[in-house]
Symmetry: C2
C-alpha cells in the first residue's frame, strides 16, 4: 500500500511544502472546502483544504462524516486558527462511504448512554479515542514498572476448579449439554463428564496461583481478566474486569505499601507524560460537565491538578482503628449525616466513610491498614493482637478502594486454623498449603483494579465507559 504518515507524526513535522499521504476518517466537512480528518493516532485532526472548484461534484458529496479517505497533498502552514498545518489536497480517494442518513455518529454531542449502545463505533469520538489511548498507556506503564524491577509477568489461569474464594460469585464454565445433563447414579449432575472432569469456574483472582510463582521467582505480577457474577448495577462494578496482582516473596506490609504507592505514582506520571493532549481534552470535558452542576457539587480540583496532586503528596497511612476514631468524631457522624453511623470498632467501612476520609479529612489518597480479621480474607497475615490482620486498602478520591492487599499468612498452623474457622475446604487448596509446608517465607501482595485506575486517570464517572465492551447484568453485547 502507498505509505501514509500518521497524523500524530505529521503534526510533529518540522518541514512544510512536502508531499504527504494521510488516511483516516472524516470528522467534519465545512463549506465544501475544509475536511477535519482523524486517524486515531491523536485526538487532533488534520485539516484538509479541498480545491472544491476543481473537484468533481460527485466526489464532494461522498465526503461525509465517518467516511474513510486517502488524501495526498502538500503540507502547508495553516492560515486558520487552532491548527499548525493544513494539507492542500491534490488527490482525494474515498475508501469507504458513510451514509449521513444512517450513520449514528453525527458531529454533535451524544450522551454517554447512547454511545454505550453503539460501543462498536464510540472509539471514533474524541472522548473515547482519548480514554482508550490513556488506557493503553496505563497498561504499558504497569508492565514497564514491574519489568524495571525484575518482576516476572505470570499468566495465571482463567478457568479454575474451585470457588474457594469466590463465595458463590463465580461464573460456571461448562461444555455439558444443558438440555441433556449427564447424571450420576445418585441423580447428581456428573461433572466427571464435563470438559475438565470437574466443576469449573471463571477466576475471581489470580492471587493464590500468583503466590506459587512468587515462592520460586521472588517477584511476580499478573495482569489479566477477572470475573464476578455479582448482580451489581453500579457505576463502579463490572462482571468482567482486568486486575493487576503482584506477589512478592520477602515483603512485609510496609514494603507492600511502598510498592503499591510507587506503582500508582509511576503509571499516573507515565500517562501525564505520554498522553498530555488526551488528558487535556478530558480535563476540559470534565470542566465543561462541571459547569452544568450547582456550585457546591463542582470538583475542587481539575483533572490535571488532581493527578499532579497525587504525584506530589505522600499517601496518608493509618490503621483501621485510627480511622474509626476519626470517623466517630467527625461532623457527619455526630450530625447523623452518614447513612451508616460509625459507632464502634469492627464493622466494615462504607463508601461514604471512605470518601469522608479521603475527600474531606485528609484530602489525599489514604492507605488504611490492619483491619479486623473478620471482615478480611482468610489468607491475610494475623497480627499479634489476635484481632486484626496485616491488610492494606488504598482509597482514592472519587473512586474509593483502588488497591486491596495484605501481607500473606505464611504460618501453616495459623492459616489452617483460619480456613477451618471460615469453612474453606483445605483439600481443594492442597497446592496452596504446600507453599506453607515447603520453604515458606514472609510475603505480601495486592490487587489493583485496572478499570478503577483508568476511571481515576480519565476522570470519567462510569466504569462502563473505560473498558471497550463492558459486561454487566443483562449485557454482553458485541
Amino acid at each position: 500500500m502507498s505509505k501514509r504518515i500518521k497524523i500524530k507524526a505529521l503534526l510533529e513535522s518540522t518541514e512544510t511544502n512536502i508531499e504527504v499521504t494521510v488516511k483516516g476518517w472524516v470528522r467534519t466537512f465545512r463549506n465544501n472546502q475544509f475536511i477535519a480528518l482523524n486517524d486515531g493516532s491523536t485526538n487532533n485532526n488534520i485539516q484538509i483544504v479541498v480545491d472544491f472548484q476543481n473537484t468533481d461534484e460527485a466526489l464532494l458529496k461522498r465526503i461525509t462524516t465517518g467516511a474513510a479517505l486517502s488524501v495526498t497533498g502538500t503540507l502547508v502552514e495553516s492560515l486558520g486558527k487552532g491548527q499548525k498545518f493544513d494539507i492542500k489536497a491534490t488527490a482525494i480517494e474515498v475508501l469507504g462511504d458513510s451514509d449521513p442518513e444512517k450513520y449514528p455518529l453525527q458531529p454533535k454531542k451524544h450522551s454517554l448512554e447512547f454511545l454505550r449502545e453503539i460501543a462498536h463505533l464510540r472509539f471514533r469520538t474524541n472522548t473515547f479515542g482519548a480514554i482508550f489511548r490513556v488506557r493503553n498507556s496505563l497498561s504499558f506503564a504497569v508492565h514497564k514498572f514491574f519489568q524495571e524491577r525484575g518482576f516476572v509477568y505470570l499468566h495465571t489461569p482463567v478457568i479454575t476448579q474451585s470457588d474457594a474464594e469466590g463465595a458463590g460469585e463465580a461464573f460456571r464454565v461448562t461444555n455439558l449439554d444443558l438440555n441433556n445433563l449427564p447424571r450420576t447414579e445418585d441423580g447428581e449432575i456428573d461433572y466427571k463428564q464435563d470438559f475438565f472432569g470437574k466443576s469449573t469456574n471463571l477466576t475471581v483472582s489470580g492471587q493464590l496461583e500468583g503466590e506459587l510463582g512468587a515462592m520460586a521467582l521472588s517477584d511476580i505480577y499478573t495482569f489479566g481478566p477477572t470475573f464476578r457474577a455479582e448482580n451489581s448495577n453500579t457505576t463502579r462494578h463490572l462482571a468482567e474486569f482486568w486486575m493487576i496482582e503482584p506477589e512478592m516473596a520477602f515483603y512485609d506490609l510496609a514494603d507492600n505499601m511502598d510498592l503499591a504507592e510507587a506503582l500508582l505514582k509511576y503509571v499516573i506520571s507515565y500517562a501525564l507524560e505520554n498522553n498530555n493532549e488526551d488528558l487535556e481534552f478530558l480535563d476540559q470535558r470534565l470542566a465543561d460537565e462541571d459547569k452544568q452542576k450547582p456550585q457546591n457539587e463542582r470538583a475542587e480540583m481539575s483533572l490535571l491538578d488532581k493527578l499532579q496532586f497525587c504525584l506530589d503528596n505522600d499517601f496518608q497511612r493509618l490503621t483501621y482503628t485510627e480511622a474509626i476514631e476519626i470517623l466517630k468524631e467527625s461532623t457527619p457522624n455526630k450530625k447523623k449525616k452518614f447513612t451508616y453511623l460509625v459507632e464502634g470498632w469492627g464493622t466494615d467501612l462504607q463508601s461514604e466513610h471512605e470518601r469522608y476520609l479521603v475527600e474531606k479529612h485528609f484530602k489525599k489518597p489514604v492507605i488504611l491498614t490492619d483491619y479486623p480479621k473478620e471482615i478480611k480474607s482468610f489468607y491475610m497475615r494475623q497480627n499479634d493482637d489476635g484481632k486484626t490482620v496485616a491488610a492494606m486498602d488504598i482509597l482514592f478520591p472519587g473512586i474509593g478502594e483502588i488497591v486491596g492487599g495484605s501481607q500473606r499468612e505464611e504460618r501453616l498452623d495459623k492459616l489452617e486454623q483460619r480456613m477451618d474457622e471460615i469453612g474453606i475446604p483445605k483439600e481443594e487448596l492442597w497446592w496452596y498449603l504446600d507453599t506453607r509446608r515447603f520453604g515458606a517465607c514472609p510475603h505480601a501482595g495486592f490487587g489493583l483494579g485496572f478499570e478503577r485506575l483508568v476511571l481515576f486517570v480519565t476522570g470519567m464517572g462510569n466504569i462502563r465507559d473505560v473498558i471497550p465492551f463492558p459486561r454487566f447484568p443483562k449485557n454482553a453485547e458485541f
Copy 2:
C-alpha cells in the same frame, strides 16, 4: 524488612568484601558447608559458605533442599570453579523449613510429566525458572514492539454472546442453577434469566472486536486469553491459551506479512538479549536430551543457532498454489511416505506437509498465502480469481502454524455473500457489519499463538510446559 539484594544483581557486582543479605531457597547443601541458594531472579545460584564448625548443629539440619533462608555475609571472590562469588555467611536464618522426607522436589532429575503434576512447585526448578523468565520477556517484548509503533492495546471481551466463529468449540459461561434450569413456555432453557440475559461463551478470538477498534484508532492489538473446548490431547493444543491479535487499518496482505515477520524477529531478538543465561541453559538441556536419541532423529541445529537463524534470514513467502506444486513433486509424496498424499489443489495442508516445506524444502520459516477460500474463514478478503482469499499462515520449524492472518474483507456485499454461503447469522454480527457500512477501508490483521511462540523460543516439546497452569481435557488443577 531488612533490605536484601537479588542474586542476579549480586552476581553483577563489581565490588567484593562488602556485607550483603540474600534471601532465597536452598537448591543443594553439600558437606555441611556449601549452600547453593536461588531466588528466581536468575538461573544462577549464589554459593554460601557456612562456617560449620561455629554453626549450631540444629540449624545445619534445617538447611535442606527447598528451605527458605535469609543469609547475611561477606561477598568474596570464589575459590571454587563455576562461580565468580561466594558469600561467607555470618548469619543464617531459616525462614521456612522443608522436610526432606516430604518435599517432592529432590536435587535430581525429575520427568516433565511428574513436574506437570506438581506445577505449583515446578517454578523452583532450573528448567521452569528459565521457561517462565523467557515467557515474561517475550510478553514484554510484544508490548514494546507494538507501543514503539503507536498501536493501542485493546482489551477485547472474554465473555461473548455469539459463537459465530467458534463452530461449537466455545465453552459456555452461565450462572444459571443447573439443578433447576429455568424454562420458557416452550420448554426451552430460558437464557433471558441467565446473568447476561442471553446465552454466553468464552471468546475464541478477539479479532472481530479488534477490527472495531482499528476502524477508529488505526492500529490496535490484543493480548489476552482465548479458549477452545476442543477435545485435543496433543502437545500443541490447550483449552486456555494466550493470543496476540493485531488489526491494522489501511494494511494490505504484504504490509501484514511484513509486520508479522518484524514482530517475530523483534521478540526473539529481545529474548536473546535479555535472557541469555536462560536460553543457554535451555540450549544445553535440549542438547542433552538430543544425545539420548538415535543419530537420525537429532536436531540439525542447536536451540541458539535456530533462534539466530530465524533472525538472519528472510521468511520464505509463497502461495498455497505454489506450495501444492512443490509438495506434489516432493520425494515423500512420490514415494507415498506422507500419510495424506497431496494429489490436487483445494485440500488443507497437514502438519506433515507444513513440516516438509519448512524443515526439508526451504529449511527456514515460511509464509504461505492465498489459500482456497473454502478452507479459510468468512472474514478473509476474496481475491479476484474467485477461488482464493488473501490469507497468510506463518509456519515455523518444529511448531507448524505460529501465525494465521489475512487481509479482511472490507466490501459489505462480498462479506455478506460469504456469510450467507457458510451460514453465519448476519443479525448476530450487526456490529461487525456496521464497520463495512460506515467508513470501511482496506485492513488486515493476524493472530499469534503466544504459547507456540514460547515453545519455539524455549525449545520445549510440550505446550503444557510453557504455560504456568495448563488447561486441557480432564485437567484444570491448581
